[in-house]
């Protein structure tokens, strides 16, 4: 198992066909296909304004899904990320309103995110408590804590300089897109080529084998969760700064959207396999479908059902594919 899963799933001979059949290729194809099909039905869907809104408004989900992918590749799960993003956005917004220096305002969510997630990672790795129990408990601690401290108040009067998401690099590149693409590429390269990045796959593929080749599964899990917290911090900043107000509650079902993006992006829930390029493409696809529903006159209330079906289809396909590969030798 380990050798097969540790080696990068690179397209060998017949690269073009193989790349197309990969999860990333499939997702890219799906994104284009949905755009064309919905565009044929309602051309307004293809307006530049709409397409850019889809990406700008959901870049934070893609960023959070990068961290979630690492967590799932390492063989764990995290359902507290939505609540954490809500807490971090509120912390950052409150600091901004209180007049803290911009550096502090932007750094605080990253630091707190890393600390909270590293703590969870340590409990999971060293005290051997299943990730689902730890993160379910943390979800309710964060959610309850946030609401009882803020009472769900809206944070308004945010200083103009706070709005990271409004910055456009070189006057054309919006910050959320820059961050989304940079985070995806850096994380993808790091996971594929660095020893620590490979250690995540090794831990998720076979923790015992990883230990025997000198990788510490415990340290790897703590590192993965800390990184996940870092990405959650960035996601919280993008989330907090995209509107003029912050509602200091936990965005409902955000963790489900992030998990959907990671899983649909081809990260195997059995651990050890997957890329963050896929998860980013999947985040875009999910956002595109959510927007498309409106344009083809389907109620947006169906979006969670669509997400559930997407997870199921991907997971079942992944399991069947593995089974067939094993049967084939």
């Amino acid at each position: 198992v380990s050798a097969a899963t540790i080696a990068p799933a690179r397209a060998g001979e017949g690269g073009l066909l193989r790349a197309f059949a990969s999860q990333e290729g499939l997702l890219a194809f799906a994104i284009v296909a949905v755009a064309i099909l919905v565009g044929l039905d309602n051309a307004r869907f293809l307006a530049v304004r709409n397409l850019s809104d889809i990406i700008l408004g959901n870049a934070y989900i893609a960023v959070a899904a990068v961290g979630m992918s690492m967590v799932i590749v390492s063989g764990n799960i995290d359902i507290s990320v939505g609540a954490l993003i809500g807490v971090l956005a509120t912390i950052s917004g409150s600091l901004a309103v209180a007049g803290a220096p911009l550096a502090v305002v932007w750094a605080a969510p990253l630091v707190v995110g890393v600390l909270v997630m590293a703590l969870q990672g340590a409990v999971i790795a060293y005290l051997k408590i299943p990730a689902i129990v730890v993160t379910l408990g943390m979800l309710s601690i964060l959610k309850g804590g946030l609401i009882s401290v803020t009472g769900g108040r809206w944070i308004t009067d945010l200083p103009e300089s706070f709005h990271l998401a409004d910055i456009e690099l070189f006057g054309i590149l919006p910050m959320p897109v820059v961050i989304m693409i940079t985070a995806t590429i850096l994380a993808a390269l790091w996971m594929r080529y660095s020893a620590r990045g490979r250690a995540i796959y090794a831990t998720g593929g076979n923790a015992e084998a990883a230990r025997l080749v000198g990788v510490s599964p415990q340290k790897t899990v703590v590192m993965v969760f800390a990184l996940h917290g870092f990405f959650a911090g960035i996601a919280a900043l993008l989330f907090a700064t995209q509107l003029k107000v912050i509602q200091s509650t936990v965005p409902p079902n955000l963790e489900l959207t992030v998990i959907t993006a990671a899983v649909v992006g081809g990260v195997s829930i059995l651990g050890g396999v997957g890329t963050v390029v896929g998860s980013t493409l999947a985040a875009v696809l999910i956002a595109e479908i959510a927007s498309a529903l409106v344009f083809i006159n389907v109620s947006p209330y169906w979006i969670h059902a669509v997400q559930g079906v997407l997870i199921l289809v991907t997971v079942v396909a992944d399991i069947l594919r593995r089974r067939r590969r094993r049967a084939g030798g």
């Binding site: 799960i77 359902i79 409990v123 005290l127 051997k128 408590i129 299943p130 689902i132 129990v133 730890v134 379910l136 408990g137 943390m138 979800l139 309710s140 601690i141 959610k143 309850g144 804590g145 609401i147 009882s148 079902n253 489900l256 998990i259 959907t260 899983v263 829930i269 059995l270 109620s299 209330y301 169906w302 979006i303 969670h304 059902a305 669509v306 997400q307 559930g308 079906v309 997870i311 199921l312 997971v315 079942v316 399991i319 069947l320």
Partner: protein
């Protein structure tokens, strides 16, 4: 069935000494907590208050019974809250929009619950989707169906007799408590005294060994996930009857309360150990905790912090006790 006998004996020899200790400990804490809460607040230890707490406990309690079975086998069901939402919607929707008579609508929503659980069980046993990811997917799917079908419209104006289950009394005790009581007895006997119950422990201790012993592992798993869905359906019925309306966000967060009660009651999250009686004590403790905090003026949102802490802490304590053993 000699294999079964050995397994049963193994489960019995392994579990009780630690479990009895866990449960006695829990019961002792429960009594101390009762005494303290009673001393702090004279409204607490009244028959009215306690019966009312029993009423509020039922919806989570009914689901906690099959959840105990599932966690004993080493599985988990995170979709229960969404199934409650879906069943509540199907009850109201089929009554209002399909024109079903209300009793038929209730039966229909129970069938939907069982079917929802059956789908979970089917993919878990046939395709071997891990229970965690399967039920996260259906957590989204079933909630999405509830939202999509209802379009966020609520249903009200149920006839008066419908409120009997959720608000009425039978022999001076809230009606739904009788349902919970019956469920506890059936589940307790089934877990402790039947081959079905012993099979659950066998699966949780060593699923491969259970398979090789000729136990119907897949059939039993399919059954317990279906039961979990059915229980969520009953819970939805009681809930709708108690609060008099149907909304698609019903049951959100139930999985936390249910799993916390089961784990607090000494059922091992790793499978292989646990009892219904422990779950009942866990349920009572969580309900009393909520009630006690509310009476001392803590708001509802703050109580979920405590439940989160209880969930993590009780898992930590249980796993360290287990390791020492």
């Amino acid at each position: 069935m000699t294999g079964m006998a050995v397994l049963t004996e193994g489960a019995r020899r392994g579990a009780p000494r630690w479990l009895i200790r866990h449960e006695t400990l829990l019961a002792a804490i429960l009594i101390v907590a009762l005494a303290i809460l009673g001393l702090c607040n004279d409204r607490f230890l009244t028959v009215d208050n306690l019966l009312n707490q029993g009423r509020l406990m039922t919806e989570v309690g009914i689901i906690a019974l099959p959840m105990t079975f599932i966690i004993i086998t080493g599985g988990i069901d995170l979709s229960v809250g969404s199934v409650v939402g879906l069943c509540a919607i199907m009850l109201g929707y089929s009554w209002k929009n399909f024109g079903f008579p209300l009793p038929l609508a209730i039966a229909f929503s129970l069938c939907v619950g069982a079917a929802a659980g059956f789908v979970n069980g089917l993919l878990i046993t046939r395709v071997r989707v891990p229970p965690l990811i399967m039920t996260i997917a259906t957590l989204a799917l079933y909630r999405g169906l509830a939202e999509g079908i209802s379009q966020a419209h609520s249903v009200r104006n149920y006839p008066e007799w419908f409120f009997f289950v959720g608000q009425g009394e039978l022999f001076g005790v809230p009606t739904q408590l009788w349902i919970l009581l019956a469920g506890i007895i059936v589940a307790g006997v089934a877990l402790d005294r039947t081959t079905f119950g012993r099979t659950l422990y066998a699966i949780g201790n060593n699923e491969t060994a259970a398979r090789f012993s000729g136990l119907p592992v897949d059939r039993v798993k399919l059954l317990i996930y279906t039961l979990s869905g059915l229980a969520a359906g009953v819970s939805a019925w009681v809930l709708v009857s108690r609060v008099t309306t149907t909304r698609s966000d019903m049951g959100i967060g139930y999985e936390l309360d249910v799993i916390a009660a089961v784990v607090l009651g000494g059922t091992s999250i790793f499978g292989g150990a646990g009892t219904i009686w422990g779950t009942v004590v866990g349920l009572v403790m969580i309900q009393l905790l909520k009630n006690g905090l509310a009476l001392t003026g803590v708001k509802g949102d703050a109580t979920i912090i405590v439940i989160g802490v209880v969930l993590i802490a009780s898992t930590l304590i249980a796993s360290s006790l287990q390791r020492r053993r």
